[in-house]
Amino acid sequence: MVRPNEHLVRLGWTAAALGLSVGPHLPRMPVWISLLTLACIGWRMLAAVRGWKAPWQWLRLLMATAGFAAVVATYGTVNGIEAGTALLVVMMDMKLLETWRRRDYQVLMFISYFLVMAQLLYEPSMWTLPYMIAAVGLSTTALMQTVRQGPAIPAAKAARMVATMLSLALPLMLVLFLLFPRVPGPFWAMPTRGGGITGLDDVMTPGSVNALSLSDAVAFRAAFDGDVPPPAQRYWRGPVLHSFDGASWRDPGGRPWRPLEVPRQGAAVRYRVTLEPSSRPWLMALDYPAEWTQPRAYLSADYQLLSRRPVEQLTAYEVVSYPEALNGVALRDGDRIRDLRLPPGRNPRARELAETLRSQYPEDGDYIQAVLDRFTLEPYTYTLRPPALRGSHPVDEFLFDTRRGFCEHFASAFAVLMRAGGVPARVVTGYQGGELNPLNNRMTVRQSDAHAWTEVWLPGPGWIRLDPTAAVAPDRIERNLAEALPDSDLVPGRFMRSLPLLVTLQQRWDALDSAWNEWVLAYGPDRQIALLRAMGVGSPDWRSLAAALGASVVLLLAGIALWTAWRYRPPAEDRVQRLYHRYVSRLARRGIRREPWEGPLVLADRAERELPAFAGAIRSITRSYVRLRYEEGASEAELIRLQRLLRGFRP
């Protein structure tokens, strides 16, 4: 059916479409997949040029099995976005080897759509919108060219046609996007994304947080309803770490969940968080979250807001927190033992110091103040590049020898001194601070705002936050990281902050990115309801949503139908022809229908015979028409004459 050169044209379109949809995936994948893809596309093109046949079926089957096995060997699974996409790419390569019939090309284009989908799930940033439209456009053009039985349409014409269709489809997409009822997922478990995302961890070793501090990536954004809390209250709670092995702190886990009452004391802070995906179930909130809109989220025993599933897509939720509240919880005996435990034989000098201080200050409050004073008065330096602690007593090394550290060094040392002095203590990681963008009044919290602090338990107030970093480097809390660090430290954004123009540009971009996140990526049922309310629906629910969707789609489809009909309209008649048609239809009203074979003169003869009263007019009109039509240089005056004649012609 298909001629060889036609095959080449089809293959060219297919290869271009597949190239665009598979391209962004390849850098993330092992090299063998890229090589295989290039080899398969190359072989298929060569086969089309040389007129080769498809490889034997058993060979293809063997290769497909080998490809599947290689994906399983590389990823350990075929489930999830990464492994699934790799498998899709390998299967696409195998399909290329047997693509000879039209149906095969169609299957390839469907695979291409899925690859675009995978890319969007992977990286839903702003530039993916034009990418998506371009990739869909190219794949669709390739589909149009390959399903045809006839020869391919010239490239420019085909591209123009698909561009027209896309511009008609975009309003439909917008309406569906805004109004299609969103069922909150997930329905089935998804394997988490394997690494690649920088963010908080549930293990804190000296040096783990300052690695994060070099990343300028956005962790989340917050929009406050009303006043923005002061910097000293901007503690965004992450994992709470209880168990210490002498060097690292971790979350032992396995604690039973029990409902917690958050005392509603002081001013409430209401805000909306748009959280970037972290592959962790941690939802960021200010101390202490009392209400939240995220479905199926809950508060851990350590007041950490948790989601049931790891956050794999941008997520938005609203929270009400009470930063000034005192939790006043009682510490059970088991918990007290856990939060006082220190590994025996590690960090002996720190313990010795704690015991000395404790004997001087028997009151808990005095003891805590004495330890904090030590951090302030002794020459401790807050730095992003602390010396590495290599010994088996890292806290001792930091406290007495190097005396240079980042927040995790201070938090860890402080908690150790507290525990050694008999005060239950734990380390809390999270984010501290955030930058307010004056353009949209949103607070942007970056990975470089990652922080670690401590909490101690006192009878009465319960767990209270104590941040030793604030004692050493108050600027870290009151202003930002760059202000708190010595000038010799390289801090992301410090150079930029010295150029006002760049700052403005950066704020603009941040506002744009924030708007994209809030209105596109985090668009969900709550925004849909708000939209309906803004459109004037009294009490919106999913029924009114479906009704609004149906009405808008029907309206748009009617518009598309009208537009295509207009596009296929017959060409307009010229003025002479229009006038003559009017004459013919007036004759027809009197029962004189023009037969297809009748010329103007023959028609006129017949009409004169049947309507003798109008014979003169019929003759003049016909003569005028014939003159306009067939005589060279017929004037504008003749046309006016015909118009005048027709005005008076009412048989």
């Binding site: 169609q106 998506m132 869909v136 329905f187």
Partner: protein, 336 residues
């Protein structure tokens, strides 16, 4: 499960036939030319379109599962594209003009040729127009704005007589093959199927009887009797050069009185054969005599065609044979 398509086959065939009959009742016979109104154009998703729907459904599920806004965006963009394609496909046929539908004559058992002209009187091109009969499909036609194209399609014949076209299917899957949009044409046209010419047979003995100028030897070569196709050995003087210059095949002028053989092809010469065998033998004689350039006349019960030489004469004779009804020749005979 394997039997399912077979089980469904009969109801589907029945539904299809019912639908076609309903369309015929609704539309009636078509005038010529006919402009396809949008109300007579039907559209359903093709197999590929159903596959596309499944792809969209899978994408919707994935978007919900991953709660991905961009995933929803892609799904809805493709859905929108599908809906646009549906309208585009439908509009590719609406307003198309079909004219000059005719069936060329053929011998029984051979394929008759159906010819029709598709005319695109619109400002946009129409692609991938597929014309199909009951068992044959013509190659696809693309029409630029204002262009027209002739489609020819073989139609199978079985027996002599009048060949009526039940319907022609005019369809397109443009742009993406996701939908199949079609209309049924019921042209008010018919063709003649000549009887099948039997195997080679000797022509009947020639009779030199009254054939115009044959008696007047002097007028001989001036008595023009018709044209026939050129055969090696013909005198160049007799070639119709003017007709040849207009293009087409080389024709040779035939003159009465130039030694033309004349046959009377007579029904009554073929005693001992049944009706169809007689018609078949007569057909063979007509075909052979015409090819040889002989003049011939036809005599069958109820009809007598005087001898002549021409393509239209051949058609007249063959049509008479094709449409012969046994009882018409014997008035008053009871229908058996």
């Amino acid at each position: 499960m394997m039997k399912l398509p077979a089980l469904l086959g009969a109801p589907i065939r029945y539904a299809r036939r019912a639908l076609r009959e309903w369309a015929l009742r609704r539309q009636g016979l078509d005038p010529d030319p006919v402009t396809l109104h949008r109300r007579r154009i039907y559209i359903i998703p093709s197999g590929l379109g159903i596959g596309f729907g499944l792809v969209l459904f899978a994408m919707l599920l994935a978007s919900m599962n991953y709660n991905s806004s961009m995933g929803f965006g892609l799904t809805f963009l493709l859905a929108g594209l599908g809906m646009v394609a549906m309208h585009w496909c439908h509009q590719s046929l609406a307003g198309l003009v079909v004219r000059s539908v005719r069936l060329r004559p053929a011998f029984a058992g051979e394929d008759a040729r159906l010819e029709l002209c598709l005319e695109n009187v619109s400002k946009s091109p129409r692609y991938e127009l597929l014309v199909a009969g009951d068992d044959h499909q013509a190659p696809p036609v693309d029409l630029e704005p204002g262009e027209s194209g002739i489609v020819s399609l073989p139609v199978a014949t079985r027996e002599r007589g009048v060949l009526r076209l039940s319907r022609i299917n005019l369809a397109t899957g443009f742009p993406f093959g996701l939908f199949r949009c079609w209309t049924w044409l019921h042209p008010d046209t018919f063709g003649v199927v000549y009887p099948h010419p039997g195997g080679p047979a000797d022509p009947p003995p020639p009779r030199n009887t009254d054939t115009g100028g044959a008696q007047d030897e002097r007028r001989g070569e001036e008595d023009f009797a018709g044209l026939r196709t050129f055969r090696p050995g013909d005198s160049p003087r007799h070639v119709a050069w003017k007709a040849a210059a207009r293009g087409g095949e080389l024709l040779v002028k035939q003159f009465a009185g130039t030694g033309v053989t004349t046959h009377w092809l007579d029904w009554s010469m073929l005693d001992g054969m049944d009706t169809e065998q007689r018609l078949s033998r007569l057909t063979r004689w007509v075909v052979d005599a015409h090819a040889e350039g002989h003049a011939y006349g036809l005599r069958i019960p109820g009809t007598e065609i005087p001898p002549a030489i021409s393509a239209s004469h051949r058609h007249r004779c063959l049509s008479t044979l094709a449409l012969y009804e046994p009882h018409a020749g014997r008035p008053g005979a009871a229908h058996g």
